[in-house]
C-alpha cells in the first residue's frame, strides 16, 4: 500500500460502518462492482458459503461438495472428515484434488452466498466480520493469503480439465482493490 493512500483512508475513518451521508462515490462503487465479479466467482464463492448451507461447494457449476463434506464446527470439516483428509497444501494433479496451505472454509462471518454486491461490500469492510482487518490488512489478505491466491492457480480436476480462474488476473484484482480503497471504499447501492 502506498503511504498517500493509507493517509487518505485514515482520514476517511475507514473503520466505521459505511452508512455516512456523503456524496455518492460512483467511481469507487463501480470499482467494487468489478471486484465483486471475482468474489462471486466459483473459486471464491465455493468456500464462502453461509450457515444455511453448512458445506463447501465444488466445480464451476458450484454443486454441493460431494460425499457429505460439511463445514463442521471449526470450518475445517466435520470431526473425522477434516478438509485435510483429502486436501493438502498444493494442488494434486494425480488425484485432481485442489490444495493450498490451510485449506478450509472461510469463517461464517465471511459468508457471501446469496448476498448482493452491497452486502458483500459492507461485510468486507466490517472489522467484526472481516477478521479485524483494516484497509492495509484487507489489501494484504487479498494479495498474499495463500487460499486467496489459490483461486488463480486452481489446478486441474481428475479428468485433467483446468478449473476456471476469476474474471481478471490476480495483479489486476490487487490493483483494483487498492484503487477502490483509495477512492473511499464505497459500496454499491
Amino acid at each position: 500500500m502506498k503511504a498517500p493512500y493509507l493517509l487518505a483512508l485514515m482520514l476517511i475513518g475507514f473503520a466505521a460502518a459505511p452508512s455516512r451521508a456523503e456524496t455518492v462515490n460512483t467511481e469507487s462503487q463501480a470499482l467494487f462492482t468489478r471486484i465483486a465479479t471475482v468474489l462471486k466467482s466459483p473459486r471464491c464463492m465455493n468456500c464462502h458459503t453461509d450457515a444455511d448451507h453448512p458445506f463447501p461447494r465444488q466445480g464451476d457449476d458450484r454443486h454441493r461438495h460431494l460425499f457429505n463434506v460439511a463445514r463442521g464446527p471449526s470450518d475445517i470439516g466435520a470431526p473425522g472428515l477434516h478438509c485435510g483428509t483429502c486436501h493438502q497444501d498444493k494442488n494434486n494433479a494425480a488425484s485432481g484434488v485442489p490444495g493450498a496451505p490451510g485449506w478450509r472454509l472461510a469463517p461464517l462471518s465471511m459468508a457471501w452466498e446469496g448476498l448482493s454486491d452491497r452486502e458483500i461490500c459492507r461485510e468486507l469492510l466490517d472489522p467484526t466480520r472481516n477478521g479485524q482487518r483494516n484497509a492495509a490488512a484487507l489489501a494484504d489478505h487479498f494479495a498474499h493469503e495463500a487460499l486467496v491466491a489459490w483461486a488463480w492457480s486452481p489446478g486441474t480436476d481428475h479428468n485433467g480439465r483446468a478449473r476456471a480462474t476469476p474474471p481478471m488476473t490476480h495483479d489486476e484484482f490487487n490493483r483494483m482493490v487498492e484503487r477502490w480503497l483509495a477512492t473511499g471504499a464505497a459500496c454499491p447501492e
Binding site: P79, T85, Q88
Partner: protein
C-alpha cells in the same frame, strides 16, 4: 530422497516426489493393506494416518510425507488388538473386505477426535465407500468400539 517414518520406523525413499504416498506404501514399502480404490480421494480405501490425522494417501504426494509419521493399517496394532479392529471382528463387519483397511483407519482417527460419537456424528464423519454395503454393521461396530468394545 524423502525421509519419513512408517509404522514407527524411519525410512528413506528414492522415488519421484510427486508419487502418491499410496503407491509408495504399496510397492516400494510392500505394505499392501492400504488399498487403491479410485485415485481421486472419493472412496477412502487408501486412508492412512499422517501424524495421527486421517489422510487419503492417493491424494498425498510422497514429498509431503517428509519428516512425518505415517501409520498404515499394518501399524495400527501388531495383533488386531486396536479397539476398532476388535469391534470389527466381534461384529463380523467385513464382506469382501477391500474397503475395510481404509474404513478402519478413518474410524480410528475419528474416534480419537470424537470418542463417543452419535449417529449424526458418524454420518458426517464416515464417507468411505463400501460397495458390499456393510454400513449397518460399521455403525454398530463404531458404537461398540467407542464404548470400549461392548455391544450397544
Amino acid at each position: 530422497m524423502i525421509t519419513f517414518r512408517i509404522n514407527g520406523r524411519s525410512i528413506d525413499v528414492d522415488a519421484d516426489p510427486d508419487t502418491p504416498l499410496l503407491w509408495i506404501i504399496r510397492e516400494q514399502l510392500g505394505l499392501t493393506g492400504t488399498k487403491y480404490g479410485c485415485g481421486i480421494a472419493a472412496c477412502g480405501a487408501c486412508t492412512v494416518h499422517v501424524d495421527g490425522i486421517a489422510a487419503r494417501s492417493c491424494s498425498f504426494p510422497l514429498s509431503d510425507a517428509a519428516g512425518r509419521e505415517v501409520t498404515t493399517i499394518e501399524g495400527l496394532s501388531h495383533d488386531r488388538s486396536h479397539p476398532v479392529q476388535k469391534a470389527w471382528i466381534d461384529h463380523q463387519v467385513p464382506q469382501c473386505g477391500y474397503c475395510q483397511s481404509g474404513m478402519i483407519m478413518a474410524v480410528a482417527a475419528f474416534l480419537q477426535e470424537t470418542p463417543k460419537p452419535s449417529d449424526a456424528d458418524i454420518d458426517a464423519a464416515i464417507t468411505n465407500i463400501c460397495r458390499c454395503g456393510t454400513y449397518e454393521r460399521i455403525r454398530e461396530a463404531i458404537h461398540a468400539a467407542s464404548e470400549g468394545g461392548k455391544s450397544r
